[in-house]
Symmetry: C2
Subunit: 251 residues, 2 copies
């Protein structure tokens, strides 16, 4: 179940921070941790939390923890009170060709906010992703911020760009596969996401005919997301939103 | 039907420009128009179109036209060859509280791209929209650009901010009303948009309890768009994407 972090066992307490902390090295209950400088600043300066108050944290790999602030001075330390591990009942992997310049950052932010498990950039014919280590680092920071903001227990994975053929080759099965296509079927009640979905979005110029054939041969179902032409980033977030809205009931 | 502008009667021809032109004063077939300077620049400089080629245009009020470029020099003129008027089979009006600073522009762009009929900013308790004539003008330009890009025949209307009570008072009926709510129902197959929908999205701090009560009393159904907490702009685009994906089959 997608757990509400405020319900971390054994009993919920109000949080002193609206967003989760991100503690990749979260330990078992009883441990006392010194918060990384960014989280310490958020706790002490942004939220003005005080010793004794409760905060919630994730390790980005499914653990949600409730902590009690032990000391809030120039440094901030906290005691892990309780930890639970949440299951991810279903996952969406998003394959995406390159959008127009300057439109990828918010795409990454929004996909992470909507709970996409993995963002996989696709190298499509004639439309490469720009190179750059700085870009990957920036995306990772955006994904962490979105995870904290949306109070999720899983950090969105970000792949390095791969050609379509390699992505198809590496597909896990069984999966339900969708390709955004203006000539596809609208999302009628019978079309529903499953436990593991892959959504493929073409680059700004669209998939080439050969790429579209490859996707069809690999079982990708054409899904019409809108009656107008959508930009790459809009189609990607629309597919993720359609997937997210069809989620299971909250426990 | 949401018409494909490439099919404007009497017969389609390939377009010299990937986006529609926006000609608010579009006339009947036979008329010769001089294009406004921005469209002229797009036709001549960006797309390098030539006299004799075909372009498509809308007036933003449902007319789609096929034109033949008559002259492409410092000025660009075109003859209206055929005009059709498209119907809008269903409409979404989006009421939206203020998102965090700097996040409204792309929200407006994406809602227009997804075909929202009207964007109605809501003045919510303690979360006013910033003042500014410049902002309204910028939003209108973004809505025009998104309409052209997505090849739509209707320009998204943009309202001036109003309090929730006034928006409810002015509601057209019959409508289906949705309010984004993390405690609502997921978009199960039974929950489908209708012919005229209103979606309400809270400001960055969420709707106040009293506002939520008012929406409930006015018949707004709580819709859970995600199992995480969404930012205002993400919830708004998610609701529009859910609505857009459930569209009717293309003719």
């Amino acid at each position: 179940m997608p757990a509400d972090p405020r319900r971390v066992a054994p009993r919920a307490r109000p949080a002193a921070t609206p967003s989760l902390l991100y503690l990749p090295d979260l330990e078992a209950a009883g441990a006392i941790l010194e918060l990384p400088s960014e989280d310490a600043r958020y706790v002490a300066r942004v939220c003005r939390a005080r010793a004794g108050e409760t905060v919630y944290a994730t390790d980005g790999r499914g653990a949600l923890a409730r902590l009690r602030l032990a000391s809030v001075t120039a440094k901030v330390s906290a005691e892990v009170v309780a930890v639970e591990h949440v299951e991810r009942p279903r996952s969406l992997v998003l394959w995406c060709g390159a959008p127009e310049h300057g439109r990828a950052d918010w795409l990454v932010e929004k996909l992470a906010e909507l709970g996409v498990a993995r963002f996989q950039p696709l190298e499509c014919a004639g439309e490469p992703w720009p190179e750059g280590r700085a870009r990957i680092e920036r995306w990772r920071r955006l994904a962490v911020a979105a995870m904290r903001q949306s109070r999720r227990a899983f950090l969105m994975e970000i792949g390095s760009p791969v050609p379509l053929a390699a992505a198809i080759e590496a597909m896990e099965r069984p999966v339900l596969c969708w390709v955004a296509d203006p000539d596809g079927s609208p999302a009628e009640p019978g079309l529903r996401p499953g436990a593991l979905d892959i959504g493929a979005i073409g680059p700004s110029g669209g998939f080439a005919a050969r790429e579209r054939e490859r996707l069809g041969a690999a079982g990708f179902l054409p899904l019409r997301l809108s009656d107008g032409r959508l930009r790459t980033e809009t189609a990607a977030i629309s597919l993720a939103a359609w997937w997210a809205a069809a989620g299971p009931r909250r426990a």
